[in-house]
Each structure stands twice: as structure tokens, then as C-alpha cells.
Symmetry: C2
Subunit: 260 residues, 2 copies
């Protein structure tokens, strides 16, 4: 345990050292992370008052579509029902569950500095939402429980995510783990950046699988938010992957005005 | 250090436990991993005698194209020159460097079992080669040095890999780390599957960046191959990411005849 702590401390020091080399602009760019987007928007998840900076409402990619298998739809319906508003004695009562929306771009007040051409900036798309064909890559939505400080993502792995023949690429699983743990960390701690992912692959995941990605808060220590994660079958009988994730908070004061 | 060893041992035990639950078919499918493809093909990397099971030669996606930036092309030329054949005293002499080819499918002798429909199987594509537009996602090639038991990947991150605005998604970086460390593990140890990835993100990587992914053998202990990895700028002055990876060998005797 002490070795583990020493290792953690060493890693934190390394992160701190790593951050020293980052220019302010880069930090500002990083602050404007998808996790920020999530944390801002989940304040009013279904409200028509939006913080989205464009003229029209963005499309929420986590809505059901025809590529979803019956298993995917069933898992979605299960968690979506938990988000319902109950009426007791004429009073509306909302439970702790919320479904988060999912867009194909982060909010565009970032700057990529000298590295990022205008062309790239205009065409850029969120990695997990960059293929238009429904069902081909990442089909997923995230439900968050603010009381229990955890979330569940229902994920259907499309045929363009292949690693081993017929199976999902380890990098695609890592991508979903980063996305889901980062969403929870951002929800709980505000703007964060990923500092560490430690992923144990327990069992290969066939293409087309529908799985649950469970993320929960381990602990928050000053600027560090530690999240645990496991990926299971929808009936939770089979364990595919386990992971821990560390996110580092970026101060809210620097969030806006980061344009060059 | 002992804590570290104990942790490693504990993890190995967990992996072993995890493997017990896997059906034979799944193991066979996993055996037919991209790493197998790599290890098989690198036996004769530029030979016209191919183990590819289709009628025509597959396209090598790691050849230069018009989306490559001058920095990408320069890094490619540098490592490609190391692969040249020298002629001394009329005798051809090959150095230790080889460029590995990169296709958009793994070899198709796998079975996804009951999970994988024929439709999905026919349309499946390797995750890192699933977008046709050149330069949009992962542009990369891997050079391996068999004497030094290491490899270098030159990677240009396209605009569809966005995580934080203007920056590469942590999952896209994890995907390249899994790909490159797995390629080296497969080259050295034959067919393997990813068991663990532990990734420290030191500095955000702007979209459009060209980076080097250096992977080297740490050690081989029976069925376990440990690889270290770091991601740097092409001049190696800036460190973006560090990682360790653990791969587990799958016995060669089960490689073929895995169809249901």
C-alpha cells in the first residue's frame, strides 16, 4: 500500500513537472475540454437555455437510432426510465439520474496556437463522433447519478472499431474509458485534463457487443480527481475491462478569453 | 520496488484469473490478433510471397500521401533511409531497421462466435485505418529495429481525433500506444494480446502534430512481454506521453483452425 502511495506521489510529481513545461495558451486550450462542455451543459441538461455558442442547437448524438440493437435499446430504456420525473402529492420529484447530451464538437473558444491551422480547426470533430454512419463506430450515451457520484455509459461497439479480427481494438476501449471517466470527473470537479489511465484488459470484447461502462468517484485530493471504472456485459455477469483514471483540475478563472 | 513487484504479481494473477473465464473460441479469436499479422508478415516484410489470404495484395496504408506535412515526410525519410540496403565489396548488407506494412483489416481466419454477424464481419475495418479520407485521422508508419528490440512510429494526428478543442483525444493517443507497443510485442514474442496499458499524459498534443512514438522491450518473463513507450516531438525535445504496456503470449499451437 505504501509502495502504491509512493508510486502515486511520484506520478503526481511527474505530472506537476510535466505541467511546468506547458505554455499558458496550451493550458487554456486544455481547459476548454469536453469535460468542461459536459459540466457546463449538465447544469441544465434538457433546458432550452443553452450555453452552446452557435446560433442553432447542436445535435445530441446519444439519442436512439436504427443501428441500435435490441440489447442496446433495452439498456438505454432501463437507465432512461431512472431519469423520469415522479409526481407525488401533486409535486414533481426528480431522482438523482440524468442523461447527458453528446455532441460532435467541443465548444469552440479554444485556440490550438501556432500548431493548428484554420482549416483543421474548422473541420475538427470529436474523436468518438467523427464517423457519420450510424452504428459504425461508437454508439453510446452516459447517465450520471449525482448523489452516488457515479455514472453508467451504455456502449455498442461498431464494426469499424476492429483490433483483433472480430474484436474491439484496445484503443477503442481506452477511448471510451477516457471519455466516460473524464465526463464523471468533469461533472464532479469542473474542468479537468486526463493525467493517467491504467487499464487492465480482462477479456476480449467481440465487435457488435453492447456493454456497460461503470465509473465511480474514488476520491478527490486537492486538484486530483481519481475515478475507478469497469466494463461489463449488460447483465453485469462478464467483466471485460477494469481501469483507474486520474484527472487534474484546471482553475476556472482561466476558462474564457483564451483566444489569441 | 517490492510494492511495485507485488503489484505486478497481483496483476498477473488477476490476468490469469481473467483468462480462466474465456471460452476456447474466444482465445482462438484473440490469437488471430493484429500482432499475429504483424509478426507473420514481418518475416518477409517486402517479399512478394505473402501470407495474406485474399487473391490480391492488400494496400499498405503506411506509404506517403499528399496529406503528410513536410515534418511528417522528413521524419519518414529519415527512418526510411535507415532501412536501405548497403553494398560493401559487392555484397549486399542490410541494417537492423525495417519498415512494417499496415493494412486496414486483420487476417480473416478469426471467428467472432455467436456475437458477430456476417454483415459486421464483412464490413469490419481496423480501428486505426477506418476513415478513407487521407490525413483525417491516423497517419502513421512503424519502423522496427530487431537488434535493439525497439521500434519508432511516426504519427500525424488528423483533425477528426479531437478531444479537448484543438487537441488530440486521450483515447486516440492510447490507441496509437496500444498499436505500436503491440506491434513490437508481436514482433518479438509472436501472437500476443494486450493485458495492461498504463499511460501518463504529460502535455496536451495539438491536432495536426507530428510525433514519434518510441517503444522498447523492457523484459520478457515467460508468457509476459513488457514494453515501455514514450511519445515525443520529432526533435525529441518535448515529451507528450509516457506509458508501459503488458502483453500476454498465446500459444502458437492454437493459431490455425480456429473457425467454428
Amino acid at each position: 500500500m505504501l509502495g502504491h502511495l509512493a508510486r502515486r506521489l511520484g506520478r503526481m510529481q511527474q505530472i506537476s513537472n510535466g505541467l511546468k513545461g506547458i505554455r499558458l495558451q496550451q493550458l487554456l486550450s486544455k481547459e476548454t475540454h469536453r469535460h468542461l462542455q459536459t459540466s457546463l451543459e449538465t447544469i441544465r441538461p434538457i433546458s432550452t437555455v443553452s450555453l452552446w455558442p452557435f446560433s442553432s442547437q447542436p445535435r445530441d448524438f446519444s439519442q436512439p437510432n436504427s443501428s441500435w440493437s435490441p440489447e442496446m435499446r433495452k439498456a438505454y430504456d432501463h437507465y432512461n426510465a431512472l431519469c423520469d420525473t415522479d409526481t407525488e402529492n401533486g409535486e414533481e420529484k426528480r431522482g438523482p439520474w440524468r442523461k447527458l447530451p453528446s455532441y460532435n464538437r467541443s465548444i469552440k473558444y479554444a485556440t490550438g496556437g501556432i500548431h493548428l491551422s484554420k482549416l483543421i480547426q474548422a473541420k475538427a470533430r470529436l474523436f468518438t463522433r467523427n464517423v457519420k454512419e450510424q452504428g459504425a463506430t461508437f454508439e453510446y450515451m452516459v447517465f450520471v447519478n449525482k448523489e452516488e457520484k457515479r455514472c453508467v455509459c451504455v456502449f455498442q461497439a461498431g464494426h469499424l472499431l476492429e483490433g483483433a479480427p472480430g474484436h474491439v481494438h484496445g484503443g477503442a476501449i481506452a477511448t471510451m474509458i477516457d471519455t466516460v471517466t473524464g465526463t464523471l470527473a468533469g461533472f464532479l470537479s469542473g474542468p479537468v485534463m486526463t493525467a493517467n489511465l491504467n487499464i487492465d484488459y480482462r477479456s476480449p470484447m467481440p465487435l457488435g457487443s453492447v456493454v456497460l461502462i461503470h465509473s465511480a468517484l474514488d476520491r478527490i485530493e486537492r486538484r486530483k480527481t481519481y475515478i475507478t471504472c469497469k466494463v461489463t456485459s449488460t447483465d453485469e455477469s462478464k467483466l471485460y475491462t477494469e481501469a483507474t483514471a486520474l484527472f487534474v483540475s484546471i482553475s476556472v478563472g482561466h476558462l474564457f478569453g483564451s483566444r489569441n
